[in-house]
């Protein structure tokens, strides 16, 4: 609020009472949130994510816990949210991606830029809002899945420390994934092309490439963002935390730079 007021005053001296950048950013973000809320596809994506994260996550955790070939140590209930998000993240990534590409498909990017012609302001809001929505929704769903798994399978352990660590990892994966989705959406502008790209990078190639038993394919798979996400959630392919973090951060920053360039510099259409 104070930042907005300061910015207001500087703008006023220049050319009439114009709101400052902080105010514009707040309004644009509010408008982006309204855009998300007022189309049904957002709610369908959330529903799909909820069913997948909670349903599959909790069921899988229950299965693991009651496996007759009993595990030696007690399992944490947080495997429910982690496994659920590994699959259910795609509902949330589609939500973030379609929010961007639909504007280009319908041409409504035209009106959008007529209302917010300062493209830097639009870019900030356009990235921040879907990423926050996808991440918050995913973390809440993971929490629900963890608690549900713990309730139906009391053999599972659930401590505050485990929960905080697990939800932090879920948040990191969703921030990285939805920034990647928004960045690719801004760059390619086509829903089909962007969806195919994100699915290949995040799910299909990391899952399939190691399976061919060809060395360079497995190596390539370890360079993809989806592999970093799988490691962060399940700790599975053999790599260090630094490598996984580099994959998550590197890919999302690259997508953001390319997508940001596209919105800032190219003609709207």
């Amino acid at each position: 609020m104070t930042a907005a007021q300061t910015a207001d005053r500087t703008a006023t001296t220049a050319a009439g009472p114009e709101p400052g950048t902080a105010t514009l950013l707040a309004r644009t973000a509010a408008a982006e949130w309204l855009r998300l809320r007022t189309v049904r596809s957002t709610w369908w994506c959330l529903l799909a994510a909820a069913v997948t994260v909670v349903g599959i996550g909790a069921t899988a955790a229950f299965d693991e816990a009651t496996e007759p070939a009993a595990t030696t140590a007690a399992l944490p209930a947080t495997i429910a949210g982690e496994f659920g998000v590994l699959l259910g993240q795609f509902g949330l990534l589609v939500l973030a991606l379609v929010a961007v590409t639909q504007e280009h498909a319908s041409g409504s990017i035209g009106p959008t830029l007529q209302w917010t012609p300062r493209r830097g302001v639009l870019l900030a809001a356009r990235v921040a809002v879907p990423v926050v929505v996808a991440t918050v929704a995913g973390v809440l769903l993971a929490l629900v899945a963890d608690v549900a798994a713990w309730l139906i399978a009391p053999e599972l352990t659930l401590s505050a420390g485990e929960l905080a660590g697990s939800l932090g990892r879920v948040a990191a994966v969703l921030v990285a994934g939805s920034v990647l989705a928004v960045g690719v959406g801004l760059l390619l502008r086509s829903t089909a092309g962007a969806l195919a790209t994100v699915f290949l990078l995040q799910l299909v190639l990391p899952a399939l490439l190691p399976g061919f038993g060809v060395e360079w394919m497995a190596d390539l798979g370890e360079l993809l963002p989806g592999t970093g996400a799988v490691w962060t959630l399940l700790g599975e392919p053999d790599m260090t935390a630094a490598q996984a973090a580099a994959l998550l951060v590197g890919w999302s920053v690259a997508a953001l730079v390319a997508g940001g360039w596209s919105l800032l510099r190219r003609d709207a259409s």
Partner: protein
């Protein structure tokens, strides 16, 4: 006030393998759009009207030149809807969102109260349909939604690209009155339309372009006066041969028509009537025919219609002020 200065837009065409071609969609355009008037923006398809409007609104980046709206580049404006409202493409709305929600988003970007959303919905006559999803709208309803969006910030400058497309007769008359009223309130109105009869009734000033270049920038009166030199008189008489001979002896161009009338070029009704009286022939009909804007437009743009001729002639004679 809109100021366009040397505005140019080039597009690359084709693949670089076959040699990169460059098309000049807009070529060094310079004109002003004055407040308090309706300025008609005319030109054949592909002349660059929409591209020009998109550059004025900062949607497309000019290759050269600039466009200012009330003295500022549109892309710099913090609250653009309070300065300039535009309807470029009525279809450019998310089909799954209701018209009212579309307007709510516009209002939200500017801190405009919700009351204003319902005001403009009433003003354009969208009524209860505003709460339905845009997917089910007719083109006319989309045009009304687009006009509502342009008006929501109560701007001093308005740009309408073909706002009458898809409207029925009532809708066309409504847009005409609306546009007239906006100009009479002192606003700057730039209106493109291919409906020449509508333009003739609505516009005060005309900017005509062809192949991206300025062909004419003049008041409606000036454009029509140019055509007065080509005014003609239609006369019907039982003895056309005698009258035509007498008129030709006065060095007037006379053309018989299929209906048996005579068309006399560059004459007034008085002259033709006097000649007929002196000759003693009966006259059953005598009318002065003024060129319509449509004819003027066709004369001016005839050489520049992009999708008809293969050669690339220079723009027709300029009618600049």
């Amino acid at each position: 006030m809109i100021q366009v200065r040397g505005l140019t837009k080039e597009y690359g065409t084709g693949s670089t393998l076959r040699g990169a071609g460059v098309v000049r969609a807009v070529d060094d355009l310079t004109f002003d759009v004055q407040p308090g008037k309706v300025t008609g923006f005319l030109g054949p398809n592909g002349a660059g009207k929409s591209t020009t409007m998109r550059m004025v609104l900062g949607l497309d980046r000019p290759t050269a030149g600039s466009a200012l709206v009330t003295g500022r580049r549109f892309g710099e404006l913090a609250e653009p809807l309070r300065v300039a409202g535009a309807l470029l493409d009525a279809g450019a709305v998310h089909p799954g969102r209701s018209g009212r929600d579309h307007l709510r988003v516009a209002a939200r970007t500017h801190g405009i109260p919700l009351r204003r959303v319902d005001d403009v919905i009433d003003q354009v006559g969208l009524g209860p349909a505003a709460r339905r999803r845009v997917r089910g709208y007719s083109l006319g309803m989309r045009q009304r939604l687009g006009i509502a969006t342009a008006l929501i910030g109560d701007p001093a400058v308005l740009l309408f690209d073909e706002p009458m497309n898809g409207l029925d007769l009532d809708g066309v008359r409504w847009v005409r009155r609306l546009v007239r009223g906006l100009a009479d309130e002192g606003r700057t109105v730039l209106l493109s339309s291919h409906l020449m009869s509508e333009m003739e009734q609505t516009a005060d000033h005309l900017v005509i372009i062809g192949r991206g270049r300025l062909i004419a920038d003049a008041s409606m009166q000036e454009v029509m006066r140019r055509e007065d030199a080509q005014r003609q008189v239609r006369v019907r008489t039982p003895s056309p041969g005698d009258l035509a001979g007498a008129l030709r002896r006065r060095r007037l161009q006379v053309h018989p028509t299929d209906e048996g009338d005579l068309l006399v070029e560059g004459a007034t009704a008085e002259t033709v009537g006097d000649v007929a009286l002196q000759l003693g022939v009966a006259v059953h009909r005598l009318t002065e025919e003024h060129a319509s804007l449509e004819q003027v437009y066709l004369d001016l743009t005839g050489d520049t219609v992009q999708y008809r001729v293969a050669s690339a002639p220079e723009p027709a004679e300029l009618v600049r002020r």
